[in-house]
Amino acid sequence: MHETNWGLLIVVYLFLGGLSAGLFFASGLANYLKVDDKPAYARVARMGALLAPWPVAIGSGLLILDLGNWYRFYKLFMHFRWESPMSIGSWLLTAFTVIAFLYLYSWLKEDERTWIFSKIPASWKLIHRLNVDISSWRETLGMIGFPFSIGVGIYTGVLLGAVSSRPFWNTNLVAQMFLFSALSSGAAALLLAMVLDKKNPIEKHETKFLVTLDVVFISLELFIILPYLIHGELSTQAVKQALDLILGGPFTFIFWGPFLFLGLLVPLAIEVYELFPAIFKGREFHGSRNLALTAASLVLIGGFLLRYIFVYAGQMSSFHSKMGLLQ
């Protein structure tokens, strides 16, 4: 068995990176969808924009802290190594974070901007010059950021999936799984934030939008987990052995219980239960606050656990024959 070189910080980093991607994606989508030429979900878009850059920024900070020599992180940007997912990812993440912050900025109201710049000493003239209204860029930034958000969502999976030495990871399905998990986490986080925002109570059509989004992504995620398992079982011995980690091995319970059942199936059931009457029976969408809170929290926990399981189990998996290490 292999020792774990990547620990909780990396799990958190991958989760937060995905979360930002999902938030940005949901926000961009909300901004893009128009009714009568006006964004139908402007408040959703704004909330998403305000939240999106932070997780990834914090996550990148954590990643840097996790480095053996954190102060050398700049070396990541002295090279571009197209074969290294981490190298590509670093550039991608940086670009995305910049875009996300610009996007956030574009959503700031006049008074918010004024407030922020009031905190900056007046003598820093150069900085104050940045106090400009770029709300007109919203659309453009959203469009540019879209592919980047998807890229980041995929990247968190590719970082693991591209490692050919770990049979647990080494299938292109991992990247997709992580992407959809990221997108659903983003939608769920947004739902959670809006439900919790007492000052601006969430409206039903907004809840419905986010719940719908979530249902779609969770379903997609589920449809990938299934082939992941089947594919793996039909694959080489090493991959089969790797899957044993979640099929009888140490990660079995956490995979099937907390992750798959609580983190995917339960919220999916709740959300479908909420949506079903509205879609198929043509009834009005209820939008239970408690159910939304529950479902969203569970999705987030599920998203975190997915990364937890993959980071740890993946490192344990190996093509290496089972000879024990030093004793």
Binding site: N5, L63, L67, G68, R72, R81, M86, L159, V163, S321
Partner: protein, 183 residues
């Protein structure tokens, strides 16, 4: 005169391994490997029920792969490969992300906490470049490992590979490992 191409590799006759750990300590001394970490190790496999038993020992270290996945994933280029096939870490470029450790199918690398960098078997380049053999090769009581240049048709490892059956470990990883285990 152009330098002749070289490809260093190890041929390992595990059956002769006594699990005496001389190679492990020699490496420790030669390469200042911190206590608690190892560049080489003796895998062991114990089987059977009394009195029908077997133990197999198998030395292992970095395979100095032809297509090293550690080098491929390294974001800074700190992990690199010499022309003679030896895979090294440039300690000044290493940021300590440990991605290479995860990418190595042979668990050959360790993280040097004190220095914040990743390290592993270097084939003792400092010795090899002087024409000596690696420390683990030299010190072994039963001379389990044979070090040499695959490009040299007269080398002993070529002779061994030509006359004996052998395997490499987990060729399906596509890494092209260069530790040849005699059968």
């Amino acid at each position: 005169m152009a330098m002749k191409k070289k490809r260093y590799a190890l041929v390992i006759d595990s059956r002769k391994c006594l699990n005496c750990k001389a190679c492990v300590v020699a490496c420790k001394a030669e390469n200042k490997v911190p206590v608690g970490h190892f560049r080489n190790r003796i895998n062991e496999e114990r089987k059977g029920e009394y009195p029908t038993l077997s133990i197999n020992f198998e030395p292992e270290q970095c395979h100095h792969c032809d297509e090293p996945s550690c080098v491929r994933v390294c974001p800074t280029g700190a992990s690199w490969q010499r022309k003679d096939g030896i895979v090294l870490v440039n300690y000044d470029e290493c940021i300590g992300c440990r991605y290479c450790m995860i990418a190595c199918p042979y668990d050959a690398r360790y993280f040097n906490e004190e220095e914040g960098v990743v390290d592993k078997c270097t084939f003792c380049v400092q010795r090899v470049d002087k024409g000596e053999v690696p420390a683990c090769v030299e010190t072994c009581p039963s001379k389990v490992r044979v070090f040499g240049d695959l490009e040299d048709p007269k080398s002993r490892i070529r002779e061994l590979l030509a006359t004996r059956r052998y395997k490499v470990k987990e060729p399906q990883t596509g890494n092209g490992p260069q530790l040849y285990y005699l059968l």
